[in-house]
């Protein structure tokens, strides 16, 4: 019990530290902070998805990315989402394939709320980077993850996997 309490305290300390670093970097270097978080996410995505079998299927790639997150105990799970007026989950656009994703449990959102930081900041770009890195490994393609809506209980994002 005491050990869990200590782990909780350590986790909260780590969150304060992370939030303070992100907030401080944003103040100090402005928009470039997002680039730093993005690159950190790319490195993480590439590292964790090392060894995942390659595929051209975006559904399989998303499933593999989800499994990577689960396997590493990352509370960053997501699910593809299709509204009633969308014909299919994966849509083809001029730039590539597009899928809408819903993120529910998110370590970053909870950290931001816990310490009063705004959403859509540099830390949120880490997830963009994570997908870019993971999908680069799994599909060998560039991708972007745009935050359409940052909500209190879930976020809605557009994943675009660009054509080669």
């Amino acid at each position: 019990m005491e050990e869990t309490r200590n782990q909780r305290l350590a986790l909260q300390d780590a969150m304060v530290f992370l939030g303070a670093i992100a907030s401080g970097t944003e103040q100090a270097i402005g928009e470039s902070a997002s680039g730093i978080s993005y690159l950190a996410g790319v490195n993480l995505g590439k590292k964790l998805s090392r060894g995942v079998p390659s595929t051209d299927s975006i559904e399989q790639a998303l499933q593999a990315t989800r499994e990577v997150l689960e396997k590493n105990d990352y509370l960053w799970l997501f699910e593809p989402f299709q509204t009633h007026d969308q014909e299919s989950l994966v849509r083809r656009t001029e730039q590539g394939m597009e899928v809408m994703l819903v993120f529910r449990d998110c370590m970053i959102r909870q950290s931001l709320f816990r310490f009063g930081h705004v959403q859509k900041g540099s830390l949120c770009n880490m997830m963009y980077g994570f997908f870019a890195g993971a999908l680069q490994n799994i599909m060998g393609r560039e991708s972007s993850l745009e935050i359409v809506h940052a909500g209190e209980n879930a976020c809605y994002k557009r994943l675009l996997v660009r054509d080669c």
């Binding site: 909780r8 909870q110 879930a154």
Partner: protein, 84 residues
Amino acid sequence: MPVEITVHEQSCRGCELCVDICPTKVFAMDQERRLCTVEHAEDCIACLSCAYICPSGAITQRDFHPVKNFYRDEEFCQKMGKFL
């Protein structure tokens, strides 16, 4: 299972904030009655932004997944031990 959304009609002032904020266009405005109505509950992602933004607290959701406050979750804290 779609999220169950209820709009308390007597509380709704027809400000349309929920219509504007919803990313999946779940709500519509009934212009005659000046009330917001739930048009596509099946599209709700349960972000709860509508409930938070409604000035009269007229919107409630049921049957949705509330996010985990992971720093209060003992099991998750134990898993995070390897990072700390």
